[in-house]
């Protein structure tokens, strides 16, 4: 059984790989094609639309209504999101209240600089 979480991940992966965005039917085709032939089954468009609107409300997906059917885009690239997470975890991001318990805390200034550079280079590329 495909859980909603797994489906959301597959949808985001497909959108991250499609800079021009995808419509719901195109997305459905991709997801079905990505499955192993034995496991292949139809994905109801309504299911996909539910997942897409959930992702949209979380701010990860944007929808352009200029065309019919609507096209969906990933708001940020995968690496931008990873960088966002790591900034939070490594506490390079200011104004955060959530101190996550990390295995080894405390980053030295040089290490912080290395991390910032790494995150910056990964954030722009895809």
């Amino acid at each position: 059984m495909i859980t909603l979480g797994v489906l959301e991940r597959s949808v985001m992966n497909a959108l991250w790989e499609s800079p021009d965005g995808l419509s719901a039917p195109e997305l459905g085709e991709r997801l079905v094609a990505a499955e192993a032939p034995a496991k292949r089954r139809e994905l109801a468009t309504t299911t996909l639309l539910t997942v897409l609107s959930r992702l949209e409300s979380k701010g990860f997906v944007s929808r352009s209504r200029a065309t019919r059917p609507h096209r969906y885009h990933a708001v940020n690239s995968r690496s931008e999101h990873t960088a966002e997470l790591m900034h939070e975890v490594l506490q390079l991001a200011p104004d955060r209240d959530d101190a996550l318990a990390r295995f080894v805390g405390g980053v030295s200034p040089t290490e912080a600089e290395t991390l910032r550079r790494l995150l910056a280079s990964r954030g722009t590329g895809n």
Partner: protein, 314 residues
Amino acid sequence: MAGAWIGLAVLALALAWPVPIALSKAAWPARAPGTALALWQAVALSGGLSMIGALLAFGLTPFENDLGVASTLLSGHILDGPVPAQAGALQIVSLAGAVVLGLHLVLSLATTAANTARERHRHRALIELLSSPLQGSPGTRMLDFPAPVAYCLPGVRSITVLTEGLVRVLDAAQLRAVLAHERAHLRQYHHLVLLAFKAWNIALPWFPIANRAEKAVALLVEMLADDDARREVDDASLATAIAIVGSPWRDGDPAASAIAADEIVPEADPETLGARVSRLISPPGSLSRAARALVLTSGVALVAAPVAVLVALV
């Protein structure tokens, strides 16, 4: 009861300055991190109570009579009767200060908790999209990132996140040590303690003590999780894992691939890292039962004192 507010003020001052300084410099907390953590919580709680209590007790002195303050206030005479002549501006300011300080502390805790919950909610949503579950280890997820990082995300369904960089530089025993350490954080609800001290620090930024307390508590929590992990893995694996994850690394070239724990000169926050590694390499022997009992009793006394004074006042 003039002594009440003076006593509380002295206690509040002691807990705001000399006591936390002494405690943060003491060596014994590494030998009994759980006991030390309890004492820190008592110091913070008692400090807040005696600060508010001192202001309250001072402000209420004019309202005292044979019936006690509470019954005087509750009987309503305070509203229709004349304000006692002795109630000067100082007392009124003091009472207002108590209310403001109390509200400030409670609001800060609430705001920090709400912000934390919101940030964690988004973090979790992103983690679920970006990482994949680790087979055979429920509640553990792998994130594609080159630096060795491990952390836990507390919640109804807690998640431990490992990066691919971490899995690349650690061997199986070291990885088990990391997982055991993170699970200990989750099991012992360390995030709640950290949250409370974070809120205290945010509420009283001008108190260098709050900052010191937050750091000391963060280190104690790590030591507690280390101690828990030691039951599952050998000390050397855990110490090496800490040292490797804490040493400087370069993208794609994890500097610390096969370094023995005792050769490591940690770069990342040497104080914290060194304290953790050295107490694993040469365990200092835990604090005696009597000493721990003494510390815990002092902690209870610290909290009980302002409560008792306030109850007696009312």
